[in-house]
């Protein structure tokens, strides 16, 4: 994993810690662990989505607004990286 990518994941981890209302500590999440399994509800995932948009000043296109995109720190990082590449 590149330095950039791990930084990306850490920024996303902060957003998740703030908005996902997980039953476990976000600090101990592995990057590939399911956020839904860790207790994130669909309503909380919306707040995570908005938080990630604010943190990176991006806007997810409609086709990315899926459960899969917000499955894990990794999947969110992948989506953010894709959008940043396009910019």
């Amino acid at each position: 994993m590149s330095q950039d990518r791990s930084q990306l994941v850490e920024t996303i981890r902060d957003v998740v810690a703030q908005h996902a209302h997980l039953s476990s500590d976000a600090a101990s999440l592995s990057a590939s662990e399911s956020l839904y399994t860790a207790g994130m509800t669909s309503h909380a995932s919306v707040n995570v989505m908005l938080g990630v948009e604010d943190a990176f000043d991006i806007e997810f296109p409609e086709e990315m607004l899926t459960k899969e995109t917000f499955e894990s720190l990794d999947s969110i990082a992948q989506a953010v990286a894709t959008l940043q590449d396009e910019q």
Partner: protein
């Protein structure tokens, strides 16, 4: 292919027909209508029929109880159900006046001058109820958890949704007859399945051509796109639809599995201490009555004998 102006024309023509026949009674609010003699007889018949069918035929794990809540609840209910997050475009709160005589004089002066006077009011702690089952969860959260045992609750409630439309199928204020189960996940899912089947049979028996379809709620904004996709993917919502306008199905009932959404927020627990799951099935009473008018006409005397019997219209 059906174009949009055609659809609007069809909606307006249907509305005109219903107003002419005094099925719908106009009020001073856009999208708000009263219910005329014939339509009300149909709605009362529908309620008797559905309640009777459920009492006789619905497989259920516990008791069947009927309760009633008014169309107004505490404003905090919109927060606790997440309605303010998911459907801000549909909600309505109640404004009130709580000034003194001087304030009242200012209000009247503005009114006399033809100015807006609503600025003299402020938002109260009351809100209009958007879904008939929401007050139930709020109430259950305040009583002994032992009642969250798979009882099926029957509620006819007035619902408010701020979406005025020329389509008589989309009223701002309407009634839902709901059958709600709060209990274990298995009980909730089974309830929804059984009610969809019962509802489909009941509506088909009234001569309506109905279809059961996966659906999503009209969640607001971009966040709503995500919620809607998730709701569809998890098959949480099904609608019973019928074709009112050519080429377009309209929902007349819906069955929803909420998972633990309400159970978690309102701390509803099953006897073994787990967070309760819930499911509701709602008959849209005005929509079903209007679908029947679309199918059988607005003159009840010409309706098929079997439908008149089922709805008890001869006694009406």
């Amino acid at each position: 292919m059906t174009t949009e102006p055609d659809v609007l024309d069809a909606e307006r023509a249907f509305e005109a027909e219903l107003l002419q026949a005094q099925w719908l009674l106009p009020t001073l609010g856009a999208g708000v209508t009263g219910t005329g003699v014939a339509m009300e007889a149909v709605i009362q018949g529908l309620q008797r029929l559905a309640r009777d069918r459920v009492a006789r035929h619905l497989p259920r794990p516990g008791a069947l109880q009927s309760v009633r809540f008014p169309p107004v609840n505490g404003r905090s209910m919109l927060e606790r159900t997440d309605y303010v997050a998911s459907f801000p475009q549909l909600l309505g709160t109640v404004d009130v006046f709580s000034g003194d005589t001087k304030d009242h004089r200012r209000l009247l002066a503005d009114r006399e001058a033809g100015l807006p006077w609503d600025g003299h009011l402020h938002t109260s702690d009351y809100a209009l109820v958007p879904a008939a089952c929401h007050p139930l969860y709020a109430w259950l959260s305040q009583v002994n958890a032992a009642t969250v045992d798979g009882t099926v609750w029957t509620i006819t409630g007035d619902c408010f949704r701020n979406e005025p439309s020329p389509d008589p199928m989309r009223l701002v204020s309407f009634r839902m007859l709901e059958f709600v189960l709060v209990g274990s996940p298995e009980q909730a899912v089974a309830h929804r399945t059984a009610m969809l089947e019962l509802g489909q049979g009941l509506l088909a028996g009234l001569g309506l051509a109905v279809t059961v379809e996966g659906a999503n709620d009209p969640f607001f904004g971009r966040a709503g796109v995500m919620l809607a996709k998730g709701q569809r993917a998890a098959e949480l919502k099904f609608e019973i639809t019928t074709e009112i306008y050519p080429g377009r199905n309209t929902a007349i009932s819906s069955g929803n599995y909420h998972e633990d959404h309400f159970g978690a927020e309102f701390d509803l627990r099953t006897p073994d201490g787990s967070v309760a799951h819930s499911a509701c099935f709602g008959f849209g009473l005005e929509r079903i009555a209007l679908a029947l008018a679309r199918t059988h006409g607005t003159d009840l005397r010409t309706w098929p004998e079997s439908v008149r019997d089922l709805l008890g219209l001869d006694a009406a």
